[in-house]
């Protein structure tokens, strides 16, 4: 796996961020290349979701810089960020569906906001998008009547209805049964192959990681502790990485 000379699509340099009194990112740097799926591993509360929120300007770093296609984005205003956000979709951890709208209106939201008025076309795309996440037949329900996993899948359908160049997934398989998890993994793979979507996936799920990752980054103590391919991850001997990957806590028995 290639392309050390290629310019990254997204480049993160020395990101620093604190939440309350805790410094969650301490000089976090990461390149993301076009068309690849990068899996970001790390402990719960370690700043992975916080990092994702920076990529679309939902949070601003204390210091450091993020470049999207070479353009620095951390100093952009809310309105200047809009073109960037059209290119980068995000699937939130618990879906963040609009609870005043039915499932179908949630999924259709990005289309309608971009000026699509042809209701037949919208309905067809919504049906297609819901079918991709195995949620056909739930389109008239309200989000409060869905389970956590279903909400997550609807959120995914909303993110891919007009596919962006980059999709950020915040724990897409957490809390899902293994079969649905597998279908989500396949979907992430398929979007990458068919539409050349670049994906950044935050997860704890090692099965999912092995299934979808082109590259893996491990976040530890606010920095990237490991960055490499899945094969390199399997063979590396570093105890921090091995404990995480093999699922061992350092507590004494």
């Amino acid at each position: 796996m290639r392309r050390e000379n290629e310019k990254p699509l997204i480049e993160v340099r020395d990101l620093v961020q604190t939440i309350g009194t805790q410094q969650v990112l301490r000089g976090f740097s990461l390149p993301v290349y076009r068309g690849e799926t990068l899996v970001l591993l790390g402990k719960s509360g370690g700043g992975k979701s916080v990092f994702l929120r920076h990529l679309i300007g939902l949070m601003r770093p204390i210091s450091g810089e993020i470049f999207v296609e070479g353009e620095p984005i951390t100093a952009l205003s809310e309105r200047q960020l809009e073109p960037i956000r059209r290119k980068i979709g995000m699937v939130f951890q618990d879906g963040a569906l609009f609870d005043s709208m039915r499932v179908c209106d949630n999924v259709a939201f990005p289309l309608r906001e971009r000026g699509e008025r042809d209701e037949e076309k919208i309905a067809a795309k919504v049906a297609e998008s819901l079918a991709l996440v195995n949620m056909t037949g739930h389109d008239q329900k309200m989000p409060v009547n869905l389970s956590g996993g279903m909400r997550k899948r609807v959120a995914l359908a909303r993110a891919i209805i007009s596919p962006p160049d980059v999709i950020l997934y915040d724990e897409p398989t957490a809390g899902l049964d293994p079969i649905v998890s597998d279908s989500i993994n396949r979907l992430i793979r398929r979007l990458q192959r068919q539409l050349a979507v670049t994906s950044i996936v935050v997860t704890h799920d090692m099965t999912s990681c092995y299934h979808i990752a082109d590259r893996v980054a491990l976040l530890n103590e606010g920095r990237v502790h490991f960055y490499g391919t899945v094969e390199e991850l399997r063979s590396v001997e570093d105890p921090v990485i091995r404990d995480f990957v093999d699922g061992r806590s350092d507590e004494a028995e």
Binding site: L58, R85, R86, F92, A96, L97, F98, F109, E113
Partner: protein
């Protein structure tokens, strides 16, 4: 030292708060003038705010008008000035009671609903989801509410005034036995267009105060359900107080444009 620090702190947080509300208002008006208006959402807000608030505004206006008439009558009757009750009621309803009562009722009913809805959206990341989908929360959430308020509030004020005066008239003529012709004649004689205009103008200002304070509270909500509860309480309390305090200054200021009497 301690007192100065406390006073400085209060002043600073007041300025910060005022700045946040003003910034929200400025962003909203920029969006409105740039034409970023969602008509269907605005219509929904008009129905929600305007149509939905009618009952409380009418009941409040009517019953206040009726008791105000009764008390004024009891005092004026001692002076044999029963027929002067009409203009007192109508001028007071137009200039002060109508706008303030409607403002307070709307601050309670609509302000609470707005801050709770926006606050819940904030703490459940729905506002972040809007931003992530390249939709500005001010365009989508605040602009329709602000327009809804600006359109509904003057009408609600007018309704409150009308029902207050009507209830006062019925109270005076049907219950207290004031002659209808005298009551109406004096009322028309001393009530002028300026009185009504002043009430309606106040309605516009109260609409702005209520909508921006409530939306600010919702958009800045944090800490889950407790935070939404706090935001809602603050929205109602601050908006109500702001209506009452600004009413004083509006009366002073508008009296120059629409002089009384």
């Amino acid at each position: 030292m301690g007192f100065a620090t406390l006073l400085g702190g209060i002043l600073l947080s007041f300025c910060t708060y005022f700045g946040q509300v003003a910034e929200l208002a400025a962003e909203t008006f920029r969006s409105i003038f740039a034409g970023r208006i969602r008509v269907s959402l605005t219509l929904r807000q008009i129905s929600e705010i305007g149509f939905g608030s009618q009952l409380v505004v009418i009941v409040t206006g009517a019953f206040t008008g009726a008791v105000f008439t009764a008390q004024t009558f009891f005092q004026f009757a001692n002076l044999n000035m029963e027929s002067a009750v009409g203009p007192v009621i109508s001028v007071a309803m137009c200039r002060e009671l109508g706008p303030v009562l409607a403002g307070l009722m709307v601050a309670g009913r609509v302000g609470a609903a707005m801050s709770a809805e926006l606050g819940t959206m904030k703490v459940t990341q729905q506002i972040d989801a809007l931003r992530a989908l390249a939709v500005h929360p001010v365009d989508y959430l605040v602009v329709p509410r602000a327009l809804g308020m600006l359109i509904s509030m003057p009408l609600l004020v007018a309704e409150c005034i009308f029902f207050g005066i009507a209830a006062g008239y019925l109270m005076a003529t049907q219950v207290l036995g004031v002659g209808s012709a005298y009551y109406l004649l004096n009322m028309y004689k001393f009530t002028e267009g300026e009185d009504i205009l002043m009430g309606i103008t106040k309605g516009f200002f109260f609409a702005l105060i209520i909508v921006f304070i409530s939306c600010r509270e919702g958009l800045y909500a944090r800490d889950g359900a407790v935070g939404v509860g706090r935001a809602t309480t603050e929205a109602v309390v601050i908006a109500s107080l702001a209506v009452l305090i600004s009413n004083f200054f509006l009366t002073m200021g508008l009296n120059i444009i629409f002089p009384a009497g």
